[in-house]
């Protein structure tokens, strides 16, 4: 009851001060909608770039790192050692791939792990040749990681499983050599091995350079192209449940296996730096806007309190205490906040919707922005928080008004 009178007074002030409250609401609306919009943009960019990233990159790659030579004798007080460390010429293969693979698969966060061998090849077409790379892997697991099936325009990934001499080629290669599934294609490796393979599938990504050079074969075939046995494995690719946890998991895998395990973030430091910078800029701008709109509300509520200073004195004289006065003005702020947030969320949805229908083309397609519930939730919470804060400070001031000093004026 006593609270409802506070609310009634707040509502009356809210209505009688329509003009100022409208301005404050518009302030919240703009602040929140742009905050949500910018953060959706950031989330969209992240999602887009990691998606296009993981088309060609595993979360973690395990391989044998180069080892530097170390001096045989340690340096001591009497002798100065001049060293010239060099990369020790060892094989760059994983010695016991089966064992390592089993170890990796035991890790609870690992979804898929498989060995891969890449080799440069020539695709022969009569007298002309196209240079490219072929990737050898177990087709089922490979597809699970690279999601090749999403890009198949002819044939299927499973065909590779059934046809040991099959090859899946990019659409660029197929176009230039006029190939369809079922046709034969001869390839030559850097080791001079020449093989006659059957095209079992054609893929097309948004990246034409890849489409013009890349192909997939069975692991054994790639090993054969390199004149190596079936234990020749250079890389093990690993995908984990949460790509963002890859660095920590990579470290664990590295200690478990004794080989270098490199996560995608470390492997693409330059890209990560750019994305981090973009994130910082977006966060910075959206928070600046938020602070501006926060000051707007603060200013308006401050003005309301100054205008109502006589009323506050009267209310205190007739028995309202400091807490009641705080509540009256905080209610007012929160009403502004609520309306502003609701409209702001609506406006943000419209902005996101419009932008998500803008076609960019190339690798991206439509603008990479979508409805991110978490971002909206964050926007709503932030909206209430700033209006509360912007209302609480002037309300505290109002609560401290000394009625006698007002009446004496």
């Amino acid at each position: 009851m006593a609270n409802s009178i506070n609310r009634k007074i707040a509502t009356t002030y809210f209505i009688s001060g329509r003009k100022m409250t409208t301005v404050a609401i518009v302030g919240v609306l703009l602040g929140i909608s742009i905050f949500i919009f910018m953060n959706s943009l950031s989330a969209g960019f992240d999602r887009q770039s990691s998606e296009s990233f993981f088309k060609t990159t595993a979360h973690i790659r395990i391989y044998k790192d180069d080892v530097l030579s170390v001096p045989l004798q340690p340096e001591n007080e009497n002798s100065v050692l001049i060293v010239n460390p060099k990369v020790v010429p060892t094989k760059n293969t994983i010695d016991n791939p089966e064992e390592i693979l089993a170890l990796v698969k035991q890790h609870s966060d690992v979804i898929v792990a498989f060995p891969q061998v890449n080799t440069p090849v020539f695709y022969n077409n009569g007298k002309s040749q196209i240079a490219g790379t072929t990737i050898g892997f177990p087709p089922v697991e490979g597809n699970q990681l690279y999601k090749i099936e999403n890009f198949m325009v002819q044939g299927a990934v499973q065909n590779l499983e059934m046809n040991r001499n099959g090859i899946i080629i990019g659409s660029g290669i197929a176009d230039r050599m006029n190939l369809n599934t079922g046709d034969n294609l001869s390839i030559t490796s850097s080791k001079g091995v020449n093989l006659n393979l059957t095209v079992v599938g054609i893929f097309q990504t948004n990246n034409s350079r890849e489409d013009k050079s890349k192909s997939y074969v069975n692991l054994a075939l790639a090993q054969q192209l390199l004149r190596e046995g079936n234990t020749y494995i250079t890389d093990i690719n690993v995908n984990v449940t949460d790509p963002n946890k890859a660095p920590a998991i990579a470290e664990e895998l590295s200690t478990i296996t004794g080989y270098k395990a490199e996560d995608w973030k470390a492997a693409n430091a330059a890209y990560m730096a750019a994305s981090k910078m973009r994130k910082i800029v977006i966060t910075f701008i959206s928070f600046t806007l938020l602070i501006v709109s926060c000051f707007g509300i603060y200013n308006i509520l401050n003005m309301t309190v100054s205008q109502k200073i006589n009323d506050i004195a009267i209310l205190k004289a007739i028995g309202f205490n400091g807490k009641d006065v705080v509540r009256i003005f905080v209610y007012q702020a929160l009403t502004i906040g609520m309306i502003g947030v609701v409209l702001g969320v609506g406006f943000a949805m419209i902005l996101v919707n419009i932008l998500s229908h803008v076609y960019i083309g190339g690798d991206i397609g439509n603008f990479p922005i979508g409805f991110e519930p978490l971002v909206f939730l964050k926007g709503i919470l932030v909206g209430f928080f700033i209006t509360f804060l912007a209302g609480y400070v002037p309300a505290r001031k109002a609560a401290k008004v000394d009625p006698v000093s007002i009446f004496r004026k």
Binding site: M1, A2, S4, I5, K8, I9, T12, Y13, S16, N310, D311, A313, I314, L315, K316, A317, I318, G319, F320, N321, G322, K323, D324, P403, V404, F407, R408
Partner: protein
């Protein structure tokens, strides 16, 4: 005794140190109609603000309804004002954004002892008493000075306070309405046992009251 002050002293420090109230002591009985007179600037309003618990910067003791409220905190004092004291200001202070009826109802809604309907009924009763029913739904800001003062009186009465304090409660009223208000206050004192403490410049008003305290330069010169 419903209200008692002992050795009240008050200083103003700005612009120069200045003793406004000097050793004020007196008591008021329940149901008494007391008036306070004195030259302009002698400290009547200042004393009344202390009696009403709004001003807490003073020396001495203030006892209301048997409670020594001198050392009470602001929240406790606010509750006492709400329930036990009705205040009519020297300059009619109403909430401009509310209707007259709402202005009168607010202290009762704050007290929260009656339902909204009961409060509204009571408020209308007070308005009728002051011949103001036709103004009930007008915004307070659209009334004349005298009308505003009558609304302020109705508001002071709404919670049936033990003590009604007025700083020139009839200052803006014509002689007819002054007479009406005087009679209302007298009736409240004598029939309902509510205590009235009113500052006035009106000699007839003072003479008709039960007792008059005369102040001069911050001291009581007669009527303790």
């Amino acid at each position: 005794m419903i209200l008692e002050v002992k050795n009240i002293e008050k200083f103003f420090h700005d612009p120069v140190e200045f003793k406004v109230l000097n050793d004020i002591s007196f008591g008021v009985e329940k149901g008494e109609f007391l008036t306070l007179v004195g030259k302009s600037g002698c400290g009547k309003s200042t004393l009344l603000y202390i009696l009403s618990t709004m001003d807490t910067e003073y020396k001495g003791q203030l006892i209301i309804d048997g409670e020594n409220v001198t050392s009470y905190g602001q929240d406790q004092l606010a509750a006492i004002r709400n329930e036990k004291i009705g205040f009519i200001f020297q300059f009619h202070y109403l909430l401009a954004d509310f209707t007259c009826l709402n202005n009168i109802m607010i202290p009762a809604l704050k007290l929260g002892k009656l339902s909204k309907e009961e409060i509204e009924y009571k408020a209308m009763e007070k308005l009728r008493m002051l011949d103001m029913t036709d103004q009930a739904l007008k915004p307070a800001s659209k009334l004349s000075g005298g009308q505003q003062q009558r609304i302020a009186i109705a508001r002071a009465l709404i919670n049936d306070p033990l003590i009604i304090m007025g700083d020139e409660p009839t200052g803006n009223l014509d002689s007819k309405n002054t007479q009406v208000v005087f009679e209302i206050l007298q009736e409240l004192a004598h029939e309902k046992g509510q205590t009235i403490i009113a500052v006035t410049h009106d000699n007839d008003f003072a003479k008709a009251s039960d007792r008059t305290i005369i102040m001069s330069d911050g001291q009581i010169v007669r009527g303790e």
